[in-house]
C-alpha cells in the first residue's frame, strides 16, 4: 500500500485507529485475553516463586489461612457468643473471600509498577499484567479453598438445614443445598471485577504514587467495617432492634455485597437480591470506568512507570 511513497514522506495510513480510542482499548483487552498461555504461566510462576526452596511450597498458603481462620474464628465466636459450628465456617469462608478481594486491590494497584521492566522492554497488551495479577489471586484462592472444604466437611451437619447464627433474633439462613453452586458464577463475577479494578487502579497508581499509600491505609479499616469476623446479627443482637440504622448504614459498604454473594452460598446463608444488584451495577460501572481509563491513558503507562 506504500509502494509509491518515497522513503522520507510516508502516507498517513487512515485504517488504523488513533492512539486514544475505544477500539485500541478493547483491542488491548482482547489481545491480552488471547495471550492466555503467557499470563497463566506468569501467574503460576509468581506463586511458585514465592515459595521456592521451601519444603511445603504453596501449601504454606493453605496452612497460614487455616491457622488465621481458626484463631480468629474461635476468638470472635467467644467474643460475640456464637455457636462455633456455624461461626467458624462463617469466619473461614469470609476470610478466604476477603483475601481474594484484598489481593486484587492491593496487588492490583501495583500491577504496572512492579512490571516496569517488562513494560519498558517487551511490547505486550497491558491487560496481560492485569490478568497475571488476578490469575495469581485466583490460584491463591483455590489453595485456600482446601481450608473451606475441610471446615465444611467437619461442620456439614450444622449447615445443611435452616439455621440461625444468633439464636434469639438472628437472620434465618436456608442452609446448604444445590443452590450453593451459585458460588461458582459468583466467583467469576468477582474475578471479572478484579480485572477492571486492577486495570483502573493500576493506571491511577502508576501516575500518582500516593494512591497506593492511601488505599493501604484504608484497606485495614475496611476489613473491620465489613462483616467478616463479625456477623450482621451482632449489630442488633442483645441490644434489641433499636439499632436498625446500623443495618442500613453497613449496606452502603460495597465490599459487604461482594463478600456476601460468594460467601453466602458457600455456607448456606441468606443472600439479599440487592446484594446481587449492587454487585452487578458495580461490575458494569467499573468496566465502563476502566474502559475510559484504558482509552485515555493506556499508551501513557509505559511513559509513567
Amino acid at each position: 500500500m506504500h509502494a509509491t511513497s518515497t522513503i522520507d514522506k510516508p502516507m498517513i495510513p487512515s485504517a488504523v485507529a488513533p492512539t486514544r480510542s475505544f477500539t485500541r482499548a478493547i483491542e488491548d483487552i482482547r489481545q491480552g485475553i488471547a495471550q492466555r498461555e503467557l499470563w497463566a504461566h506468569l501467574g503460576w510462576q509468581d506463586i511458585k516463586q514465592r515459595y521456592r526452596r521451601s519444603v511445603l511450597g504453596p501449601l504454606w498458603i493453605t496452612i497460614s489461612m487455616g491457622v488465621t481462620a481458626l484463631g480468629l474464628g474461635i476468638l470472635y465466636a467467644v467474643l460475640f457468643k456464637h455457636p462455633l459450628q456455624q461461626f467458624l465456617p462463617y469466619v473461614t469462608t469470609g476470610f478466604i473471600v476477603w483475601n481474594f478481594i484484598n489481593g486484587c486491590i492491593t496487588e492490583g494497584m501495583s500491577t504496572f509498577v512492579v512490571n516496569e521492566g517488562l513494560i519498558k522492554h517487551l511490547p505486550a497488551p497491558l491487560t496481560v499484567y492485569a490478568l497475571r495479577t488476578v490469575w495469581r489471586q485466583t490460584l491463591m484462592f483455590l489453595h485456600n479453598l482446601a481450608v473451606y472444604v475441610i471446615m465444611v466437611a467437619i461442620y456439614f451437619g450444622s449447615l445443611d438445614h435452616v439455621y440461625q447464627m444468633d439464636r434469639q433474633n438472628g437472620q434465618f439462613h436456608p442452609g446448604l443445598g444445590l443452590w450453593s453452586f451459585s458460588a461458582i458464577p459468583a466467583f467469576f463475577v468477582l474475578a471479572l471485577n478484579g480485572v477492571w479494578l486492577t486495570l483502573l487502579i493500576g493506571i491511577i497508581s502508576t501516575r500518582y504514587r500516593d494512591i497506593p499509600q492511601v488505599i493501604n491505609s484504608v484497606i485495614q479499616l475496611a476489613f473491620y467495617l465489613t462483616p467478616i469476623v463479625w456477623s450482621p446479627d451482632d449489630l442488633f443482637g442483645s441490644g434489641g432492634s433499636n439499632r436498625t440504622w446500623a443495618k442500613v448504614i453497613f449496606q452502603f459498604n460495597p465490599l459487604y455485597h461482594f463478600v456476601q454473594v460468594l460467601r453466602a452460598p458457600m455456607i448456606g446463608q441468606h443472600v439479599d437480591w440487592w446484594s446481587w444488584a449492587t454487585v452487578g451495577g458495580i461490575t458494569v460501572l467499573g468496566w465502563a470506568l476502566a474502559l475510559v481509563a484504558m482509552r485515555n491513558y493506556r499508551a501513557r503507562v509505559s511513559y509513567w512507570v
Binding site: I7, D8, I12, P18, T19, Q45, Q49, L118, P123, Y303
Partner: protein, 272 residues
C-alpha cells in the same frame, strides 16, 4: 506485509519527581505568588518530529551518541512508546532485543526462562518446547540449562538470551547494543546465527557502536542526534559522516574479507 510508517512522531517524557508530585508544594505554592505557576511536570523531548518509512527487506543501522534517542526510537518502533504527537504504524510481529536480562527470572531454570521469553515474543509453549534442545545445543550450556539462572555468569545469560531470540522467526527484528559480554569463540558462532536470523526476518533495525557489526547486518543507516534524524542514507556514507572517517579504514583484513570488501588504502576515501 511488513512495514513501519512513522509520521511526524515525537516522544516526550514527563519527569515526575518528588517535588512536582508533592501535595505540600501544591498547597504552599498558592501562598508564594508567581513561583509555582507552572504546574506541569518538566518534559524531556526524547524524539522530535521523526518521519520515516521502512519496508520489507530494509536493514537499518542506528548510530549516534549516547542519549541521541536510539533506544527510544527502537522502543517507539516496537510499539512500547506510542508517540505523544504524530503517528507510528507498525505492521508485523515485532521481536525486540533490548535488555538481555529483562523477562529473565534468576530463581527458575534456564529452560523455564526460555519458555517465558518465547511466550513474550509471541510463540506458544509447544513451539518453545520443541526448540529447547536446539537452543541448549547452540548455547553450549549443557546440564546448566536445568539449573536456576542465578548460577549463570553474565556471559552465560547473554548466550541464553541470544539463543532464544535467534531461534524464532520474527517479522520485525529490533536489536539494541549489548551483545558484548560473550567470549570471542561464541561471538563468532552468534554472529553467524544473527546473520542468519536477519536474513530470515523481514525488517531489521539495529542500534550499535560497532562498525563491524553494522557493516555485517545492515545496508542503510540513520544517524540520530538530539532526538532528530540527522542523516539517512547508505550505511558507509552515514558512518563516514558520523565518525569523520571511512569505516573500512580501521578494520582488519580478515573482517574485510568476511564482508567481501577490498582492503581500503588509508586516505583514499578519507573525509568523504
Amino acid at each position: 506485509m511488513v512495514s513501519i510508517d512513522v509520521w511526524n512522531a515525537s516522544v516526550d517524557f514527563p519527569i515526575f519527581d518528588a517535588k512536582t508530585r508533592s501535595l505540600k508544594k501544591a498547597v504552599l505554592g498558592k501562598v508564594g505568588g508567581k513561583i509555582g505557576t507552572d504546574q506541569r511536570a518538566p518534559i524531556i523531548e526524547a524524539l522530535h518530529d521523526i518521519t520515516l518509512s521502512l519496508q520489507e527487506g530494509d536493514r537499518v543501522g542506528l548510530v549516534g551518541h549516547n542519549g541521541a534517542g536510539k533506544s527510544t526510537l527502537l522502543r517507539m518502533l516496537a510499539g512500547i512508546y506510542e508517540p505523544t504527537r504524530g503517528t507510528a504504524h507498525i505492521h508485523g510481529k515485532v521481536a525486540p532485543v533490548f535488555d538481555m536480562g529483562v523477562g529473565m527470572d534468576p530463581e527458575i531454570s534456564g529452560e523455564e526462562n526460555i519458555i517465558i521469553r518465547g511466550l513474550f515474543l509471541g510463540m506458544t509453549r509447544k513451539q518453545m518446547e520443541k526448540r529447547i534442545d536446539e537452543i541448549t545445543e547452540f548455547t553450549e550450556l549443557g546440564d546448566y540449562i536445568q539449573m536456576p539462572l542465578r548460577t549463570y555468569s553474565t556471559g552465560m545469560r547473554v548466550r541464553l538470551a541470544l539463543g532464544v531470540v535467534t531461534s524464532i522467526d520474527p517479522e520485525i527484528l529490533l536489536l539494541d547494543e549489548g551483545i558484548g559480554a560473550v567470549d570471542a569463540a561464541f561471538l563468532d558462532k552468534a554472529r553467524n546465527r544473527l546473520v542468519d536470523l536477519v536474513k530470515r526476518s523481514g525488517l531489521l533495525v539495529f542500534a550499535s557502536h560497532s562498525d563491524e557489526f553494522l557493516m555485517e547486518l545492515c545496508n542503510t543507516a540513520i544517524w540520530m542526534d538530539e532526538g532528530h534524524v540527522r542523516l539517512r542514507g547508505g550505511l558507509r556514507e552515514v558512518l563516514t559522516a558520523y565518525k569523520g572517517r571511512d569505516p573500512y579504514e580501521n578494520m582488519s583484513p580478515e573482517t574485510l574479507a568476511r564482508l567481501g570488501v577490498e582492503p581500503v588504502v588509508p586516505d583514499a576515501h578519507a573525509r568523504a
